[in-house]
């Protein structure tokens, strides 16, 4: 009998990555869920004796899933696989009954190690075949399920190539958007972790927003900044072989007071202290986020010097671009907020249109 294993992640790419990272020769019956609600349903239907669970998901996130499992005493063993690598996130999920925590992007060695450590997966050991809660022995002879996933990945590549050809169209291919979102998710987690350590707080991680937009419509596309809010911003260019763009950090002016006290700055409402704070935040967030992206794409980036976009301005004034060269940009928006404080901070990664070819190539490697 195969073990019913459930992978619950809103990202298609992440689901595939997890499925491909399962130990070889493991007889499992894989099901997928794209959010917490579907996940709970699947567990109830007996499809999830083992649950590999993401944290940041729409509809119902990972924390809520863990709570529901505890409350309803559902028969499943949970391992969290998340880009949110703050120490406190780790603590929270284990206190909610998760067995362990694996950081994204997941790799086969780590996953196998953890699955073995908890006795969920036993290597080449038919006699001692493990019994999960519900006493279903793992059988190892059958071919592993995940091999069937390969054609799926190829299909994704084809979709991407088609996308590249039809440049006239402003819609981002669903498959591709999902990949970008997952990369952003991991990078965001890296930056969030540093921010959490710098400020000693818990950072609430959102679901990154990925869009292909017109540069001139950038300010309107920012979902988390109110048009009338007074904001300050910093911009930093980055470039790697074939991929370039700018990172923007936009902070709501009402956040400065809290940021200052968290960073132990004596805050007198003046522009120079605010600029210091903004620079410190930018150094940490932009740097870590780019590192996260660069790690996943296996490509180093050089960073230019930050440029002050402005202080105490409306968002539309802040990012009034006069660039004629770039028409469209791939925009990844990450809105950080901090638990218990009124800090709102928007990190934007804007890639040039030309970068997308290289990005897409790199992503197809990631999917292979």
């Amino acid at each position: 009998m195969s073990i019913p294993l459930l992978i619950c992640d809103d990202s298609n790419m992440a689901r595939k990555q997890v499925a491909r990272s399962l130990p070889d020769d493991w007889d499992v019956d894989i099901s997928f869920a794209t959010n917490g609600e579907e996940g709970i349903e699947a567990i109830k239907a007996g499809k999830g004796d083992v649950l590999l669970l993401d944290l940041n998901m729409p509809v119902m996130d990972g924390y809520q899933v863990l709570e529901a499992i505890m409350k309803q005493d559902l028969p499943t063993m949970v391992i969290v696989i998340s880009g949110d690598i703050q120490p406190e996130a780790h603590q929270r999920v284990t206190s909610l009954g998760a067995l362990d925590f694996i950081q994204k992007p997941v790799n086969k060695e780590k996953l196998t190690e953890i699955l073995s450590a908890y006795g969920i997966f036993t290597q080449h050991d038919n006699e001692e075949a493990l019994t999960v809660d519900i006493e279903k022995p793992a059988v190892i002879d059958e071919p592993p399920e995940h091999i069937e996933l390969t054609p799926l990945t190829q299909a994704a590549d084809v979709a991407m190539i088609e996308k590249e050809e039809s440049t006239g169209d402003f819609l981002l291919d669903v498959e591709l958007r999902d990949c970008y979102q997952e990369i952003a998710n991991v990078a965001m987690g890296r930056a969030g972790d540093l921010l959490a350590r710098l400020l000693d707080v818990f950072v609430v991680l959102p679901i990154p927003n990925v869009n292909l937009i017109e540069v001139s419509e950038l300010s309107m596309a920012l979902s988390d900044v109110e048009e009338q809010d007074s904001t300050s911003g910093i911009c930093q260019g980055f470039i790697g072989a074939g991929i370039s763009g700018e990172a923007l950090l936009i902070l709501n002016d009402s956040s400065f007071k809290d940021v200052a006290s968290l960073m132990n700055y004596t805050y007198e409402v003046d522009e120079s202290t605010e600029l210091e704070l903004l620079m410190d935040l930018a150094n940490v967030l932009i740097g870590a986020c780019l590192n996260g992206v660069s790690e996943q794409l296996d490509m180093p980036f050089s960073q230019g010097h930050p440029v002050v976009l402005g202080q105490h301005k409306k968002i539309s004034q802040l990012i009034a671009t006069n660039s004629k060269k770039w028409k469209r940009t791939l925009a990844i928006e990450i809105s950080y907020s901090i638990e218990g404080y009124s800090i709102k901070c928007d990190l934007l990664l804007l890639f040039t249109e030309e970068s997308m070819r290289t990005l897409n190539n790199k992503i197809s490697y990631l999917l292979d």
Binding site: L198, N283, G287
Partner: protein
Amino acid sequence: MSLETSQINELHWLMEMLHTIDVGLVVLDRDYKIQIWNGFMENHSGLLPREVKDKELFPLFDEIPKAWFKRKAESVFLLKNKAFTIWEQRPYLFKFQNYRPITGAADYMYQNTTFIPLMSATGVVTHLCLIVYDVTDNASHKKDLEEANKELAILSQTDGLTKLFNRTHWEHCLQAEYKRWIRSKNPSCLVMIDIDHFKEVNDTYGHVVGDNVIRHISGLIRHHVRETDVSGRYGGEEFVILLADTPLENANVFAERLREEIEEAVVKYNDIDLKYTVSMGIAEIDDSIESYEAWIASSDKAMYRAKAAGRNKVVLHPKNSTTH
């Protein structure tokens, strides 16, 4: 050439380039003691590498605020992250003199800096590389541009002859005051001033003298108004003053004082001594005035009544009795 020689050569060239590059390179250890000091740093500081080697940074350069610097550096050591500082935040890290007698635009070199973590083989950040860029030209150009824009903004709002606000800008201010009044209902008065028989002055003495009269009255207006009042040149010999937060009675006192002073003054030009008078109309904003244009019309009407009543007078626009 053997492989080894070529590698040694490459290394040698690389060292030479790092020493010569027009960018400051410094390596600091965990205790902020200087380990590497390239040619740029040597030339601008006047300190030789052997003089600074293994010396702590802060006693050598007391312009570097220790707490500030450490805050940036410690986060680089801890988080293994790059950090950047820009001249807007702090004009310079090292106080290097401007070294170009002709094209150097500032007293000191403006600097951007980058802090880079240097890792040991074990992955621990043991050292920190400091890169110092000379951005004096950028900074001074940006400052010049800001200054020029500020001047342009003033120029575009000012009347050349009188240095009072020009009509466009003044009307803009009046419109804003009108909108403010709708919310606050604080009393505000608009004073319209017209020089009596100005055409005769021009016809008799010429435009140069006419201009002098205009300069004279605008000087008096500037002298009399408070900082919060907005005064402008409305037309040729017509002037306007917006007295914010002022009821009609007080505006009348103000206007009478100005009128008297003008009546008593003498404008001198070469051997010409000239006296002139003005007619004024004042309108306080109230509910019967439905737009800022109507407000102008009301004070204008009062001013024409002053003309009709024999000039050199202040006439008040009747307050709307229905509001009381």
